[in-house]
Amino acid sequence: MALTQTPALEPGADRTMILNMGPQHPSTHGVLRLVVEIDGETIVRIMPDIGYLHTGIEKTCEAKFYQQVVPLTDRIDYLCPMTNNLTYCLAVEKLLGLEIPPRAQWIRVMMNEITRINSHLVWLGTHALDIGAMSVFLYCFREREDVLRLFEAVAGQRMMTSYFRIGGLALDLPLDFLQRVKAFADRFPSNVDEYESLLTNNPIWINRLKGVAKISAEDAIALGTTGPTLRASGVDIDLRRDAPYTGYENFKFKVPVGKEGDVYERYLLRVQELRESIGIVKQALEGMPAGRIKADAPKVVLPDRENMKTQMESLIYHFKIITEGFTVPAGEVYQAVESPRGEMGYYIVSDGTAKPYRVHMRSPSFANLQALPAMCEGRLIADVVAAIGSIDIVLGDVDR
């Protein structure tokens, strides 16, 4: 396919004009700037301008110990912090060759799916708000509050959880946590019905979304799109099923695949994913194994607080890990995880020291944003907002 971005946007003929959209624009979900060339109401060219939120996390990682990078990963995609934690931890664990105990894996799966629900709820609420359906936003954020309370209970933080650590988890679950998750999981499907009753058959919603920002499967693959955006175009790939990690092979779930490739299809898909995620959470609750939550690797995993008070070795290991970090065998790994937005990948190069030589985040939003021109060009300017909402970008994830 033709490359949709062309050098130098100049207002050529009299017919077109350049419209600047963002970076401060409520429906760009952050600080995305779009330079749009329009002919009347039709878009001739659209060019995303990014980098306003670039914080150099990849550079910062090179100056930190491996365990100090975990809190940085939360800040990349702040709507799915645990997925970022998970990808980074899995990559380092792969470098180390660490085996994670089953309980930690199941908790990881459960929390990861709750994170997906959190992310999709924010997406649904803000997307509906962009289109003009105010009330859905309020309903979605009501349930998101429940999810954030669960995060707070488990990690002490509502957004930047840093709950997954290299070799396991920071802490075990609080006492009544599983009951709270169960109460949420039992209640949540009826909430999804509620959102659907407001939107799915709503004629305004359908007219606004159906046939908008279509992209074919070939174009979506060529442009590197992943996640629900790619599956809505009819490509059946989900890393949780196709390249299972952290024990996803033990769970049964359906991967919804669309065929139209328009905004409405992406909406339907994500709502189905909400239902599938809650199914996975329920399975995790039923089969939650007992046991340790950290790998048996004293040189890598921080010792339990209680042991440090009585055992000399634990105190020494704690001191060593905090002050010197732990060394990781030389090598390189690329670990990909199915985040709510698509394929999130961490490419880590180790030179055998305690600090990563290079950490690269392959963020799904960055790649998916490339599909925006292909979705919008030749269509109406009013549909841009719907298109941006439908690819579900997080600008922290785009700019890193």
Binding site: T6, G97, G224, E343, G345, Y347, A367, Q370
Partner: protein, 165 residues
């Protein structure tokens, strides 16, 4: 699980379909291969990267139809200084492949694979911005993360973490 040692002998890796196909296509284009932690890496000669990518994409069995990521690693001060890293994914086969191209410091140029996958557009711009690697044939090679008047390339190892002051 203990880590299995990496296999770097190209003869031992000939049973991998990717390595076998690339060698059968052009022996001179492949300069090395590695199988480590279940991940396959193939080093490609710089001038062969675009045809190699085209070959892998259009191969009837390999079908590497998606370019997932392009990035770079700086090995300053050793030479060759840069390694451009391509992560390929075959959606029908659900397999991955990593291609690498080594670049010298004074000649950090490589052909753009934009004719093969349009997804490399942003990725190559990012590598250009943060490492200063030139991608020849890229239609819009401008800074993407940093401001346009920024000096230097921040992810290079000789660029201080706190920036130039």
């Amino acid at each position: 699980m203990a880590l299995a040692p990496a296999i770097t002998d190209i003869e031992q890796l000939k049973d991998k379909p990717e390595v076998a196909a690339l060698l059968a296509w052009n022996t001179a284009a492949v300069t090395g291969a590695k199988f480590d932690r279940n991940e396959l890496t193939v080093w490609i000669k710089r001038d062969q990267i675009v045809p190699a990518c085209l070959f892998l994409r259009d191969h009837a069995e390999l079908k590497f139809n998606m370019l997932v990521d392009v990035t770079c690693v700086d090995f300053f001060p050793s030479e060759p200084r840069f390694e451009v890293v391509y992560h390929l994914l075959s959606i029908p086969r659900k397999t991955r492949l990593r291609l690498k191209v080594a670049l010298a410091d004074n000649d950090a140029k490589i052909g753009s694979v934009i004719s093969v996958w349009s997804s490399c557009n942003f990725f190559e711009r990012e590598v250009f911005d943060l490492f200063g690697v030139q991608f020849e044939g890229h239609p819009y090679l401008k800074r993407i993360m940093m401001p346009e008047d920024w000096k230097g390339h921040p992810l290079r190892k000789d660029y201080p973490v706190e920036g130039y002051r």
